[in-house]
């Protein structure tokens, strides 16, 4: 059994339980925010999605670095899947954030807000990852260039985050910091359970994607064994690790 498929069932169950618990806590346990009221419930989905996606981009960079060090294709696949999942989570995070901004600020988007704009820049930067892969046909070169891209852009994410945190002019709320933030107990518990749920969801979906890719590679290998190299059509251009 593949290393990616191992523990997949347990992880899926843990994810389902944690996400369900998080939703119950959000709507039946966490108190209403005194300033924002019910709209603040969006915070429990928007912030974990943003945090997990940013961590995912950094993970993609770490996996890319591992590929450059070891040359093992599995690290390239991990890097690809981490960045792919992070992009999906980013889209969810930015849409949820936009909805919250509309409800709270009356605007879908505020261009003068560094947190929002820097997050958008990170997303747009990683949106070029797939076209970059797609533009390189040779799998070895594709993996190497993509790993360099993932490392450089992955390093950009925490730098970008720190610069924005140091910026003085912002309207985006700051509820978390190194001292634990200013959330009351029940809200903090709900937030951490939501964060855990989203992180588990990220790990589960990433593992499923890797399992699908491994299965595809195994299918091609078996086809070659059965029919010979000439009978299996080449992959051609693809952004996915092969």
């Amino acid at each position: 059994m593949s290393t990616h498929v191992r523990h997949l069932r347990g992880l899926t169950i843990a994810t389902a339980v944690t996400v369900t618990a998080a939703l119950i806590l959000v709507f039946f346990y966490a108190p209403l925010d005194a300033e924002q009221g019910f709209v603040q419930k969006i915070f429990y989905i928007h912030v974990p999605l943003a945090i997990v996606s940013l961590v995912g981009y950094c993970l993609g960079g770490v996996f890319g670095l591992m590929y450059l060090r070891t040359g093992k294709r599995v690290w390239d696949m991990r890097s690809y899947c981490a960045i792919h999942m992070s992009l999906i989570f980013s889209v969810g995070g930015i849409i949820a954030g936009s909805i919250w901004a509309k409800a709270s600020w009356g605007h879908w988007w505020v261009w003068s807000e560094p947190t929002l704009v820097s997050y958008l820049i990170v997303i747009l930067l990683f949106c070029t990852y797939q076209p970059l892969r797609f533009s390189i046909e040779d799998p070895e070169r594709q993996a190497r260039y993509a790993a360099v891209f993932a490392v450089v852009c992955g390093a950009f994410v925490p730098i970008n985050f720190i610069v924005v945190r140091l910026s003085a002019e912002y309207v985006h709320p700051r509820v978390l910091n190194l001292e634990g933030g200013n959330l009351p107990g029940p809200m903090k518990l709900t937030f951490y359970v939501s964060l855990l749920g989203i992180a588990l969801l990220f790990a589960t979906l990433m593992k499923y994607e890797m399992a699908a890719k491994e299965m595809r590679i195994e299918t091609r290998r078996l086809r070659r064994t059965l029919l010979g190299d000439d009978a299996v059509r080449p992959l051609g251009r693809t952004a996915s690790p092969s």
Binding site: G92, Q130, V171, G228, L235
Partner: protein, 86 residues
Amino acid sequence: MIALFAEAPALPLHTAGPYVAAAYIVFLLIVLIYVALMARKLLTNSRDLRDLRAQLEEREHTGAGPAGPAPVPERIAEPLEPAAHE
């Protein structure tokens, strides 16, 4: 901008409800669409893999040699199509 945030009032439930619902529905939709696509891909791949393993076992039992280029199945002999962007 700070004044904008300071003046943002807590919306009443009937106004805030649709916004909260929309945020969670978008999240659920994204996850569901992704899971559905992945499940379809996994099912197709696992079916192909099962068929190929069965063929390989059958070949090993019958003691046939490695494949030659002659019996190429139709689906593989199809002209190359541009690879899907995954």
